[in-house]
Amino acid sequence: MIRRLRGRTASLLVRTLGFLTRWPRLAFAIADTLAAATTLVRRGPHHDALRTLFPDLPAAGFAAAIRRIRVNQVRRLLLHGWAERAGVAALQPLVRTNDTVPRLQPPLILATFHVGPLLALTAFAERLDGEVLALRSQTIGSGRAAHVSVGAELESEQQRSAAFLQALARLRRGGFVFMAVDPLQQSGLEVPFLGRTLRLARGAFALSRMTGVPIVPVVAGWNGDEVEVETGEALHGDDERTLAAAAAQWLERYLTQAPGELSHQLLALMEDDGKPQAGGPGPH
């Protein structure tokens, strides 16, 4: 009952603020105020998780991260509302890529995670100079740019195999493959992450092993009212597990700098076995 009410409130909020695509700053100000208010009245599931994952975070940093997680949740809804109403083009003015795009030359595998405003990466994908295949994320390929296409459906094992072969072909033709590597299903490569275990999908790492094409980790994060796209150094190697561990390490470093970017989706994907991995709990 409460959950349904919350869902209705959220969709009402998105519908209302959806009218403000031309005044994003005003929409963000309203959304942020509402998000901050709900932080005061209700603890989210991320509260305890954040304390466990970042035990050394000072009180002020902890409070800011909690607020940021809630604000990000509301802003995520807002972006989806805008994209539905006015298309992904409505997000383009919000996204800053600085000098990132020219440095990314195909063939390249762009690996992202369920953190930050994932939808904003659609705008980023449209700026890449080359054919892009968006895989494992309908979100990234949801724009209208002709050079960005979405891979095969990913429901069954066979569909995922077909999508994998599409990606292989795209890389061999010298294009980009853009995919989320933290999988929503249970299989994958288990890697240590923030003192817990994260399962990453094999796809990106297998593609890199088979083609020799490097992997660049990519995430989007908020900086004020703009989205900044952050990329890591290219990961090379022919061992899937080593590549996966390196990608997780990069994300761990990113989240240690910006714990407020931790999302509910990512938390749900992390296995809480109650036992810290080797190296101790929390970031290191």
């Binding site: 094992e157 066979q158 995922r160 195999s161 994998f164 072969l165 292989l168 094999r202 796809g203 297998a206």
Partner: protein, 80 residues
């Protein structure tokens, strides 16, 4: 000959141990059959294409991919 080669290609990618001898044709490559994940299935098909010089990736469309279906397709394609 083709069947034996396909069996060998599949066998080396199956993580769990399989009984010796030919594999049952009705076994699916993925899921509850041989348990190959999507990437291993793709690798099996790529190796079949390379070894026999015929296209097989179209088998991913439609009905579930079984060992028998793969072998039958390769036999028909190489006989042409």
């Amino acid at each position: 000959m083709i069947a034996a080669t396909v069996h060998e290609i599949v066998r080396k990618r199956v993580a769990h141990s399989l009984p010796p001898g030919p594999l049952a044709g009705e076994l699916r490559l993925g899921g509850e059959g041989l348990g190959l994940d999507s990437i291993s299935i793709a690798e099996v098909l790529l190796e079949c294409e390379q070894r026999f010089g015929v296209g097989v990736t179209q088998l991913l469309e439609g009905e579930p991919l079984t060992l028998a279906r793969l072998i039958e397709h390769v036999e028909r394609a190489t006989a042409r």
